[in-house]
Amino acid sequence: MGVLDNFLFVGLPYITLVVFLVGTIYRYKATKFNYSSLSSQFLEESSLFWGSMPFHWGLAFLFFGHLIAFLFPSSVLAFNSHPVRLLIIEISAFIAGLLVLFGLCVLFFRRIFNDRLKPVTTKMDIAIELLLITQVVLGLLVAYTSRWGSSWFAAVLTPYLRSLFVLQPEISAITALPFLAKLHIIGANLVFLLIPFSRLVHLLVVPFHYIWRPYQRVVWNISRRSVRDPNTKWTLHRPKNT
């Protein structure tokens, strides 16, 4: 348990967590205007389909897979106790990983080679794409070399992540992991670290509330009814309609 391990598996996650929380909240409050997915479909449509669709859907599957293994480790282990179910989950996760990798490569080459996209491509965009490609490749390698990830994630990583969240970091199990898996963990930290500084913030504002809001939206700047009512007390704040 050297200083390096302590930094990478204790220090870095906490730095990431603090930067992520402070960064995203500050950016949302201070510069709400630039919280956007910055879609480039308007400038280039055809290859975006082959990039964006596999990338996003694959990533959603993988993200929720990791999240479920973190939140419900025992259920995952119980589910995996049957080899057929284990194989199904591993294979589908691997396919999702390949989809993400394919999508990312399309998106990356699209950014590099399309003239119209150059004015809307920042260095950060390229940096994230390279980081995500690295991260997915590492994830695929880990899944291929150290089987069966879905089970040992629940057994090894979940206790580690939980120990981080209860502020009693326990990293002995982590340091024993293979090198590739360690890199994958560090990469995950870097991804979260970069979220507040990149376009990735849009994943925090996925519009699920659209599902239950009414279709039409009328906004009144001022409630004339209460303004006209002589019983309304005068305040500095104008009475608003709700």
Binding site: A30, T31, K32, F33, N34, Y35, S36, S37, L38, S39, S40, Q41, F42, L43, E44, E45, L48, F49, S52, M53, F55, H56, W57, D115, R116, K118, P119, V120, T122, M124, F197, S198, R199, V201, H202, V205, P207, H209, Y210, I211, R213, Y215, Q216, R217, V218, V219, W220, N221, I222, S223, R224, R225, V227, R228, R238, N241
Partner: protein, 518 residues
């Protein structure tokens, strides 16, 4: 009764000369920015023509607006399920090539070119990539090009016209076209609002202006698909959607919108309409077909002189000044009182609140064969040549015959302004014609008074109404055409800020620079 006020506009198409001054005024104020170069919040199209973006009226391509679905209305190309499933890639999104690639010219090359044998040229360069391009399309590329195979003949409004009718329309001698200025329609049932997953788009309760909150827009770009008029634009620079704001900062400070203020032909009228928000839903779900919907939209609009309406408006908090403005509104007169103006493409189901007086001009003159011998006799012997034996016939012997033999087929106008119902268009055109006949009796005097009066009786207009139409069409001063309530200081956003501070930025009300995210 839920009485609300809406700032609304009427376009008198007979007066539009297609000069694009409105578009330029709008562009200079609002969209002269990076990412917005291709946007024309106000644009003028030649009809028949394909418009901007190309063939925007063809909803089989663009999937805009609402469609009937078992007694209710649903969005054609967006909506809750479809909007969220397609959020990573919207299959119905118009892309830059459907509008045009914005361009400029390398003017500096003209000045800085070294001395040489050939004249220097200013090459066109793309405003997106900065590289030289071949210009293929512009915002008014079909200007005045009626009859051309690429533009006029691809007009989606030609649907329902027989091949022979279309051919007749595009014969060189019979060629006719008119101009259609378009801005955001500030609808009562806006599809863009309904389609926005973030809830960034809203309709202002006080004056009905539909706006996009730039701080909430996340570039999910469903509004661009949903708006059947394609008046919600995606700013590729900032990654936000933008649209016509009806110059609300100008309206709030008592000025007319830029497009209206600059209008050379004085075709635009701006005023307040009172409407019953409770009737919107029943009009949408209750109408069995598009024609009925177009007619029922008029029922939503209320009579501002009706004491019941005034009472309900006051109870609902509509200010007295707004009610007064609604009573003086030129829009009310054109739309309800005289029944001359109708919304553009009511069949899209958004209940658009801008209205158009259909053009009579290409209709009024029909072609007739004449015997030119008598004329030719009188002519100079050298120039004794009469090219054709046809002449525009503007006689009034047969009162309404020219409307039926119209050069711009009624069906075509009906497809645009009354969801295909020709009787509505015919009625409006007859009224417009009646005004002309009446005025001809008054000023030229070659028509009997009895005939003029018979015409009025036929279309059901009083002399008072006819004089009113004539006045508002031909003589109206600015204050007659622009009737909005005086600004309410306590409500105006514009008055609380120095707009000069935010010049060149995206909208008002926030100090953050409109810089693209990273």
């Amino acid at each position: 009764m839920d009485v609300r006020a809406q700032v609304s506009m009427v376009f008198h198409l007979d007066k539009c000369i297609g000069c694009h001054t409105c578009s330029v005024a709008c562009k200079n104020i609002w969209t002269d920015r990076k990412g917005a170069e291709y946007m024309w919040w106000n644009n003028v199209e030649t009809k028949p023509g394909t418009g901007y973006p190309t063939k925007w009226e063809d909803q089989d391509i663009y999937k805009g607006g609402w469609e009937r679905n078992n007694g209710s209305m649903k969005l054609k190309g967006a909506g809750k399920l479809r909007g969220l499933v397609n959020i990573f890639h919207n299959p119905h999104l118009p892309v830059i090539d459907d509008y045009y690639e914005p361009f400029t010219y390398k003017y500096l090359d003209l000045i800085e070119s070294p001395a040489m044998d050939d004249q220097p040229t200013a090459r066109p360069v793309s405003l997106i990539t900065g590289k030289p391009i071949d210009i293929k399309m512009g915002p008014n590329w079909d200007d005045d090009l009626s009859g051309t195979p690429d533009y006029a003949r691809n007009d989606p409004n030609l649907e329902g016209l027989s091949a022979a009718e279309q051919e007749a329309m595009f014969q060189l001698e019979r060629m006719a076209f008119f101009y259609l200025p378009r801005i955001c329609n500030h609808c009562l049932n806006p599809a863009c609002v309904a389609s926005c997953p973030s809830g960034a788009i809203y309709k202002r309760g006080e004056d009905g202006v539909v706006l996009i909150n730039q701080k909430v827009c996340r570039a999910w770009r469903m509004c661009v698909t949903a708006c059947p008029y394609k008046k919600s634009y995606f700013n590729w620079g900032t990654g936000k959607s933008e649209k016509c704001i009806l110059c609300y900062p100008r309206i709030e400070s008592g000025q007319a919108p830029a497009c209206m203020h600059s209008c050379v032909g004085r075709i635009r009228y701006l005023g307040v309409m009172l409407y019953d928000a409770d009737k919107i839903e029943s009009a949408l779900t209750g109408s069995k077909n598009d024609q009925e919907l177009a007619l029922r939209q008029r029922d939503i609009l209320l009579d501002p002189n009706d004491p019941v309406v005034i009472q309900a408006a006051k109870e609902n908090g509509v200010p007295d000044s707004t009610i007064k403005a609604a009573q003086d509104s030129p829009i009310y007169k054109f739309v309800k009182e005289w029944g001359l103006a109708m919304p553009l493409h009511a069949e899209y189901g958004t209940l658009p609140m801008l209205f158009y007086v259909p053009p009579l001009l290409p209709v009024m003159a029909s072609l007739s064969d004449v015997n030119n011998d008598e004329q030719a006799e009188k002519m100079d012997p050298i120039a004794k040549y009469w090219n054709d034996n046809w002449l525009y016939d503007t006689s009034t012997d047969e009162l309404w015959a020219t409307i039926d033999k119209a050069r711009m087929p009624l069906k075509y106008l009906a497809n645009m302004f009354s969801a295909g119902d020709e009787s509505v268009i015919k009625e409006a055109l007859k009224k417009l014609m009646a005004v002309r006949i009446y005025r001809r009796w008054k000023t030229v005097g070659d028509i009997d008074e009895s005939k003029a009066m018979a015409v009025l009786e036929d279309v059901g207009l009083t002399t008072e109404a006819v004089e009113g139409i004539f006045y508002l069409t031909s003589l109206a001063k600015f204050d007659d055409r622009f009737v909005i309530p005086p600004a309410h200081r306590e409500q105006a956003i514009e008055m609380l800020e120095f707009t000069g501070d935010t010049k060149g930025s995206t909208g008002f009300g926030f100090k953050e620079k409109p810089l693209r995210g990273w």
